[in-house]
Symmetry: C2
Subunit: 332 residues, 2 copies
């Protein structure tokens, strides 16, 4: 294993120390592993809490800030945060208007966020949960009952965050989050496996001429292992999977993310985006907004995911709203 | 070689197609390989042109936009742009107030930008050149007479760009660029080599327990090959190299970048930044601003560079000025 680490055991703690040093607008509680905005909760504002296993940076800590999340609770690598940690995050950001949990659909996350929601209810904090399950690759997986939650999480956090920032009520924010998830689909391809600090070796081995098609964000298997294709073929296969599940019509507007999994250079992501744009444009589908870069990663995996959100005018307007976080920043 | 590509031969052209599709605020001339702002030149504004071999994305195309570069001219992978291409870029962005070439110190870049400057002079476009040579690792290298230009390029482009945006004169913009370069030092460590699309295999092989200390952005050798160290040891060695060359005193303000070389996850960059911050804070040196992420890369290399700029109030103020580019965006 070749990584910039001190010890595998301290990887998350050390990451949080660095995050705190780099971003004074965040408050990082090292003991409880909670990242919140330095300003504390705003009275009457719905609080947005997300979290999950670490190893997907900048998700979720990099999305804490004005216009997006109020708190993130990172678990150990690829391991859910615990209920007490999630409860502490919800408590820290509660402004009396309730809290939305944004939860990627993995068994551990779902269970622990559910327990935290019950504990929060006991403490008179009302919680609504938005479950993200956008990955069309597999119906169930080794980590999930039902579809996995992947790239759409970024879209849900951005747009629900913008709505909450304006003072929308708990039910409205949750409903918008569910609408964004329902409008979004993702598909990913891996060229290499990732290596967790604890394991010290890749989670699987891919031959030099093969790719994992439909891979999950922990390196879990996808639909098939195939010969390495061209960028055009890969973009075509990913969009075929996405659009066959969620058809789009000419003149539909979309937000498209071509996301790197941690070990893929930006050059390759732009090449993929060019192919995605050519295919969608060829169908008359409009890419109204886009992200190209590393937003939800799998440690050092060489791979990429494509997320397409069919965006109505409300979503586009919320997308454009100011955001000020380490990983997404505009309008401020 | 496992990359998202169509053909190795079309990698740069395909990257530019994707860049153009993703960023409508840029104008990408695919035939001449020039990236400019869509708005065209502004009369009376000094034009900033940079460029160099491709494979370092987002450098330089990702830094074109308001408050930073006016044009970038990407060469083939790790290969200088040609003089005609650079001249076309300078001509495209000339607003009558002259053009600054920001040139990383590599033999091919220096020669071709110099030839382009002479051609521009013949066409009555006055050119000032800012040479970036911040890498303290080696005095000369396989690619360079003198020090290599690396991370400080981002700082020079940001701050000179901010000054030019305000209507400063050619000599002032160039002088500021030189001041930023003179105040900046970098040092990089590689854990793996990068693979160019044309070569199809890594430029060198590092044993599983070794790192290249002082590596260049093309994978060229550094000072030594050593046993893999901890993040704390690596940060310490890099800062030792930087500070022994450019001493800082307690209470000095700095801008610090911990930069990934393309294949390094954000988690590891934050771990390194935490160690860098601890060391500098221990010496009483203030990190006034920072960047943590992929800004000047080496294709898929797993590695990181550290750049420290001793920043005076003018530099901090220019750093904070609005910037609206694909890779750096704030204040807008």
């Amino acid at each position: 294993m070749k990584k910039f680490l001190n010890e595998a055991e301290t990887a998350i703690a050390d990451t949080l120390v660095g995050l705190a040093a780099a971003h004074p607008a965040l408050r990082v509680d090292l003991a409880r592993k909670i990242i919140t905005r330095a300003g504390g909760p705003r009275k009457g504002k719905v609080g947005l809490v997300s979290g999950g296993g670490s190893g997907h940076e900048p998700l979720h800590g990099g999305f804490v800030g004005t216009g997006m999340l109020d708190a993130a609770c990172p678990g150990e690598v690829f391991t859910s945060p615990v209920p007490d940690q999630i409860l502490a995050a919800a408590t820290a950001v509660s402004g009396g208007a309730g809290v939305v949990h944004i939860v990627k659909n993995y068994t551990g996350d779902v269970m622990n966020f559910q327990m935290a929601a019950e504990l929060a209810g006991d403490a008179d904090i009302q919680v609504e949960t938005v479950l993200v399950n956008d990955d069309v690759a597999v119906k169930d997986s080794t980590w999930t009952a039902g579809r996995r939650g992947t790239g759409a999480t970024v879209f849900v956090e951005k747009m629900a965050g913008a709505l909450a920032e304006r003072g929308a009520r708990l039910a409205e924010v949750a409903e918008l989050g569910r609408k964004v998830n329902a409008a979004s689909r993702s598909f990913a391809v891996a060229l290499t496996a990732c290596t967790t600090p604890a394991a010290g070796k890749p989670g699987f081995v891919l031959p030099d001429d093969e790719m994992e098609v439909g891979v999950g964000i922990h390196g879990e298997p996808g639909r098939s292992r195939e010969k390495l294709g061209t960028a055009k073929q890969i973009a075509g296969a990913a969009l075929e999977a996405i659009l066959s599940d969620h058809p789009l019509a000419p003149a539909d507007s979309t937000i498209v993310m071509v996301n790197g999994m941690g070990g893929t250079p930006l050059m390759e992501l732009y090449i993929l985006f060019g192919e995605v744009a050519a295919i969608l444009n060829g169908k008359g589908i409009r890419i109204a907004r886009n992200l190209v870069g590393n937003y939800i990663t799998s440690l050092d995996m060489a791979g990429a995911s494509i997320t397409v959100c069919k965006a109505d005018p409300q979503m586009l307007e919320l997308w454009d709203a100011p955001v000020d976080t380490p990983a997404l920043r505009w309008g401020v």
